[in-house]
């Protein structure tokens, strides 16, 4: 079975500080892709960052970066210089077979001014 676990239902961070959201997953597949999606109060799901499992180099998108540990099946998201607009629900997900997605239950992040 494919599973994604986000063990932190809620987190908060002070504006301009750094926060890390954790995610672990389980799959027997060797070829897959990992994603973090952001869902602000507007409800729209926005892709934050993606990582190919076959790449060892961690993906980075501006203030967002991941720490991908394939052997540990861990895929954490680091947000640097947190901004008020980062307040959102964050979902970790992985994809296998080119079209089958599996989502975690989400982490609600609040950035405190």
């Amino acid at each position: 079975a494919q599973t994604v676990t986000q063990s932190q239902p809620e987190m908060s961070v002070q504006e301009a500080e750094t926060v890390t959201l954790s995610c672990t997953y389980d799959t027997s597949e060797s070829n897959y892709y990992l994603f973090w999606y952001k869902q602000p109060p507007s409800r729209q799901m926005i892709l934050v960052i993606r990582q190919e499992a076959y790449k060892q180099q961690n993906a980075t998108e501006n203030r967002f970066s991941v720490n991908f540990q394939k052997a540990a099946k861990s895929f954490s998201l680091k947000i640097s210089d947190s901004q008020l607009g980062d307040t959102a629900m964050y979902f970790c997900a992985f994809m296998i077979g080119g079209n089958q997605f599996y989502f975690g239950t989400g982490t609600s992040l609040t950035v405190i001014p």
Partner: protein, 112 residues
């Protein structure tokens, strides 16, 4: 998400009535999906489609049916709505490959 439109955006309906939610895409993506989002559960797959008239069940398909008569449209029907189907419903599309999903803006359905 300009390429994916969900309608309606909000709906309140009574228990026992049929409800149809519509997803329309202009992305020409092959794969389309319906998810429901509930607190503590994340997103759970209801049904998906891998082409016109080709659909399959997801993990929470009971009480739901789908149809896809055209590439661009994917309909989700609640045959007889129940209060447990109160949720936010998301449509997503994918061209396959590694680029992930494109999501619609969701439909908030309340069954009273």
């Amino acid at each position: 998400d300009a390429g994916i439109t969900q309608s309606p955006r909000h709906k309140v309906t009574e228990t026992g009535t049929p409800v149809t939610l519509r997803c329309h895409q202009t992305e020409n993506h092959r794969y389309m999906y319906w998810y429901r989002q509930d607190p503590g559960h994340g997103l759970r797959l209801i049904h998906y489609s891998y082409g016109v008239k080709d659909t399959d069940k997801g993990e929470v398909s009971d009480g739901y049916s789908v149809s896809r008569s055209k590439t661009e449209d994917f309909l989700l029907t609640l045959e007889s709505a129940t209060s447990s189907q109160t949720s936010v419903y998301f449509c997503a599309t994918s061209a396959g490959g590694s680029y992930g999903y494109t999501f619609g803006s969701g439909t908030r359905l309340t069954v009273v």
